[in-house]
């Protein structure tokens, strides 16, 4: 397909689709999460007004981002927090490493941060002999399995409990064959508690950062961000520059939307507001651009920077549910990842905007009203115009254009097609035609509507 050397979405999805019962299981599990979201949203009388407010607050954020960043830096510094700026992934990773080196630390705990996945921080630190332990249970599972997360909220949603039992047996010494989620979670609790108690540096992500007060909010259900940060001598919080919100009371809007959209819970167990380091502690914030300022300049696509990473669009997407997160070959998968990633590397991610049926369900569930499916469609046009579309697709589209713009050719082609399918179907319906891999065609009619109309018009 595309000229680059990685496997594209269609190829990776085809591999995922080989195990049909597993695909059904994956599909149903995520659909169940989507239904929980629906129930939670339905219980909030002002849900649509809330989405509208959130979207408008984010419009204001994007239009004043440079001012809010400056204000946030000023307030956070006043609170005693050390603020760093990273233009790209490399600079972000270098900053984290330098903080670790300053403290002569080579081990740290980390709670969920998709930004550090985007920057490939773990690999970078491993190459510099720093051991990182991911402390979110799902992230620990995929880390032990040496895989990236397949979902931004449910990192190991593609893993079965029996497989996790086996993985924990190998790495944590749990009894072979025990796949009880309660038991495995308890084993992970003991394993990770030891890490929390012995690590001097903790890294967390950031859900929201408040320009007005310089504080930032981290949401978890497990309490892992807090366990890490409050026990460590040094807390490093990494955030994309788009995470800013103007005022603290705007958190009311976003915290009401975030978890209901994500898992159907009314709120995460913990919504922690970090404003100042505790006495004797050092607190750092790393503000990361990594393509975001460029993205902000793309009129048709900047809205995707409103994303609050709830993953509602993943759970509802018929393509994501049936192709799995790894088929997107990027840190943030799903519909939102498919419109964010081409901004980072249009060639490498040229396949992603095509990994959609454009059904629009993603836009309907988005808590900040990002026009996701419209952006998917717009990216396709940009990608084709810039010459990044797959060669086979380009050739087919050119042929179709010729057929559809010439009535004579169109009628002959239709007639020929019907003749072939009626008389020698095996020439069309065979393994060489990719269209037939997962589909069957209905029986072709003997004549077209045009032919019927001509005969019957008296």
């Amino acid at each position: 397909m595309s000229s680059s050397n990685h496997k594209d979405h269609a190829t990776l999805a085809a591999a995922f689709n080989k195990d049909e019962p597993r695909v059904d299981w994956h599909d149903q599990t995520l659909w169940w999460v989507r239904q929980k979201r629906d129930k939670a949203a339905a219980q909030v009388a002002d849900w649509e007004a809330l989405r509208d407010s959130a979207s408008k607050i984010k419009d204001n954020v994007l239009s004043n981002l440079s001012e809010y960043l400056t204000k946030f830096e000023e307030e956070a510094s006043r609170n005693g927090v050390i603020v760093h700026w990273a233009a790209d992934a490399k600079e972000h990773n270098d900053i984290v490493l330098s903080i670790l080196r300053n403290h002569k630390v080579d081990k740290m705990v980390k709670s969920k941060s998709m930004l550090t996945e985007e920057c490939h921080l773990n690999e970078f630190l491993a190459a510099h002999n720093v051991e990182v332990v991911d402390t979110d249970l799902g992230e620990r599972v995929v880390q032990l399995a040496e895989e990236p997360p397949s979902h931004i909220v449910l990192p190991c949603i593609h893993w079965k409990k029996e497989e996790i039992g086996e993985l924990f047996h190998k790495h944590l010494g749990t009894p072979a064959g025990n796949a009880d989620p309660q038991f495995l979670t308890y084993a992970a609790r003991l394993h990770l508690r030891e890490k929390f108690l012995t690590r001097r540096v903790a890294l967390t992500g950031v859900n929201f950062a408040v320009a007005e007060t310089g504080e930032f909010v981290v949401c978890t259900n497990e309490g892992n961000a807090d366990m890490g940060a409050h026990l460590a001598d040094v807390h490093i919080a990494c955030m994309g520059i788009e995470k800013l919100i103007p005022k603290r009371d705007h958190l009311g809007v976003f915290l009401r939307l975030l978890t209901r959209s994500a898992t159907g819970q009314p709120i995460t167990t913990y919504s922690s507001h970090f404003r100042k380091p505790r006495p004797g502690q050092e607190m750092h914030i790393v503000l990361v651009d990594n393509g975001r300022s460029t993205h902000l300049g793309r009129k048709d696509f900047r809205n995707s920077l409103k994303c609050i990473r709830c993953a509602a669009c993943f759970n509802t997407c018929p393509v994501y549910r049936r192709s799995g997160g790894h088929s997107y070959h990027t840190a943030v998968a799903g519909p939102i990842g498919s419109i964010l990633s081409p901004n980072l590397d249009m060639k490498k991610y040229s396949d992603l905007p095509f990994a959609s049926t454009l059904c629009g369900s993603c836009s309907n569930v988005c808590p900040v009203k990002i026009d996701i499916h419209e952006q998917l469609y717009k990216w396709r046009q940009v990608i084709v115009q810039e010459g990044n579309s797959p060669a086979a697709k380009t050739a087919t589209m050119k042929a179709m254009t010729w057929v559809l713009s010439n009535p004579g050719v169109y009628h002959t082609a239709g007639k020929t097609g019907r003749w072939f399918m009626l008389n020698v179907p095996f020439t069309v319906n065979n393994r060489l035609n990719p269209w037939y891999h997962q589909r069957d065609l209905p029986a072709p009619p003997k004549q077209s509507f045009g032919e019927w109309y001509k005969k019957n018009k008296q």
Partner: protein, 210 residues
């Protein structure tokens, strides 16, 4: 040019024309007693709630609920006979090393208020003894006054604006939990395995209880 200046210049050049903030979102109109709603939601997310007349009742209930608790830490002076407190007299200061709280079985802390729509309680650093305590303890108990329940997160932030500033604060909604293994809900991920909220109401009669 520093990365800071580069980023800010690029953002400034690319940010769209000014868009005004929307008017402050007003939640749904909620009047009446919010207690039943708060309790229902809290129980649905794995927490427990008790309406009590005072701290004596709290002590009685905790004795029954946590008979095996060895180390009990509290920031409620009313419970000082029942649990260790952080006060100048007892010299229990944990500032030097929060790790020493690791073996806490039960922590009883006051919180500012509860939120009916999601069962969360808001607690600030000064109420926690140590920031890590509400997370590291095996079981957590929060105490609020029954009248201190607000309807939604919007009213919650209106209330927070009246509270003296904090270095750290958090909303706590139920016990620590995870559903990362096949979406099976497990209570007690890294933090407390149970969460109980006591709602104080001095008007309440203890008659009929025990």
């Amino acid at each position: 040019m520093s990365s800071r200046d580069k980023i800010l210049a690029a953002v400034k050049a690319n940010q769209p024309d000014a868009r005004a903030l929307p008017p402050q979102h007003q939640g749904p109109d909620t009047s009446g007693d919010l207690t039943p709603r708060f309790i229902t939601v809290l129980e649905a997310i794995g927490g427990a709630a008790f309406l009590v007349s005072g701290f004596d009742r709290i002590a009685t209930i905790l004795h029954e609920q946590y008979p095996g608790a060895r180390r009990i830490v509290t920031n409620c002076p009313e419970l000082s006979t029942f649990a260790e407190t952080a006060s100048p007299e007892t010299k229990n200061h944990y500032d030097d090393d929060p790790h020493t709280l690791e073996n806490t079985d039960l922590a009883i802390l006051p919180a500012h208020f509860g939120v009916a729509e999601n069962g969360a309680c808001f607690i600030t650093e000064s109420q926690m003894i140590e920031r890590v305590l509400p997370f590291i303890t095996q079981n957590l108990v929060l105490v609020i006054h029954r009248k201190d329940i607000v309807a939604t997160m919007h009213q919650a932030y209106d209330r927070i604006a009246l509270i003296p500033t904090y270095g750290f604060s958090t909303f706590i909604a139920g016990p620590s939990k995870t559903a990362d293994i096949e979406q099976s809900l497990v209570l007690g991920a890294h933090g407390p395995r149970s969460l109980t909220v006591f709602l104080l109401d001095e008007q309440l009669s203890d008659a009929g209880f025990y």
